[in-house]
Symmetry: C2
Subunit: 198 residues, 2 copies
């Protein structure tokens, strides 16, 4: 045993985190050992509290500490609009843009045959139930502009159109502040296809 038991166990546990290899786990462990005990306690408590005090919202499936979540409860949000995203991180990204005032629906993933994720692993049935309950006029598909996100959007657009709602997809194009020269070819192609009259 090279490290004392408690240190070896900490390195092992840290090494389970995504993107943390053995060297990083060792570096983090020695940082923890050199850190004030109160700061380490704060981290340990934050880990447990985040887990214990949050659930998925029973309406939109976003992560929340109150159910239904604050977005679903908010009387100022437009209840006719539902924006479909892959993960809670995407809700946060859209909220930061201050552009959207409707509700959300978090799928918790995207269609990926390689990763073994089919439509039945996503919160699609729950989305269909929300639409059947009525009152929703437009569904905005905001899954990622990658292979899995596009496949999911394609699948959902076909499925949801049968329910009589308007289904739209967020625009693809050049990122604001970017340079044409640095944009990927398919981004430029999508920007041209999506051009609008000025």
């Amino acid at each position: 045993m090279i490290y004392p038991g408690p240190v070896a166990r900490l390195i092992e546990e840290l090494g389970r985190l995504p993107g943390v290899g053995p060297k990083t786990a060792q570096r983090l462990a020695f940082h923890i050992l050199a850190t004030d005990i109160h700061e380490v306690q704060r981290l340990a408590e934050a880990l447990l509290a985040a887990k214990a005090q949050t659930v998925n919202c029973s309406v939109c499936h976003n992560i929340t500490d109150v159910d239904p979540c604050r977005l679903c409860r908010n009387p100022e949000r437009d209840r006719q609009l539902v924006c479909v995203v892959e993960s809670p991180k995407d809700v946060a990204a859209l909220e930061r843009s201050h552009e959207y005032r409707g509700l959300y629906h978090v799928l918790h993933g995207a269609w990926s045959p390689i990763a073994g994720v089919g439509p039945e692993q996503l919160r699609i049935k729950e989305l269909v139930d929300r639409l059947k309950a009525g009152g929703i006029v437009e569904v905005i598909l905001a899954t990622n502009p990658d292979l899995e996100g596009e496949a999911t959007a394609m699948y959902l657009s076909r499925l949801l159109r049968t329910l009589g709602v308007k289904v739209t997809r967020i625009a693809h194009g050049l990122p604001v502040g970017g340079e044409l020269d640095y944009a990927a070819d398919d981004t430029i192609a999508r920007a041209l296809q999506g051009r609008r009259e000025m």
Copy 2:
């Protein structure tokens, strides 16, 4: 507030770890939220246990869960040899080589005027006290082969020679399995300077 309180606090606490930026902290937090509660509890307990159940060995200053540490207690180790290293990680690295059977002394850093670390911040006084107590014949300086490690080794070699012990420095040269073509110029220079008759 984009994330519920407990999630925002977890992201904040994870973001204090070295090398963990806001994006990584967010990714780790969502991994934690998707992880089984028992696994999160194991991580939280490992953090607290590593902190609560370890101290620096009162003899060699290596991290340990018993004082003096297992290396200092081990009757099979050669008590005439002390290997001086910068950190507990270095003790682990040397032990993995199975080449060394003496004792250690952990400085907890290296001389770095830029980082404001002088000899008085290192466990040098404690090393001198160990040598004055007698019984030690050779001190092997195994600080890192970088600017700070070399400066520390230079400083220690001058200081310790006055105490009548043999002071040696671990060899610098080509890494085993490496290629001459890929080695840095100063590594090649040190390998030539340190050449030995075959």
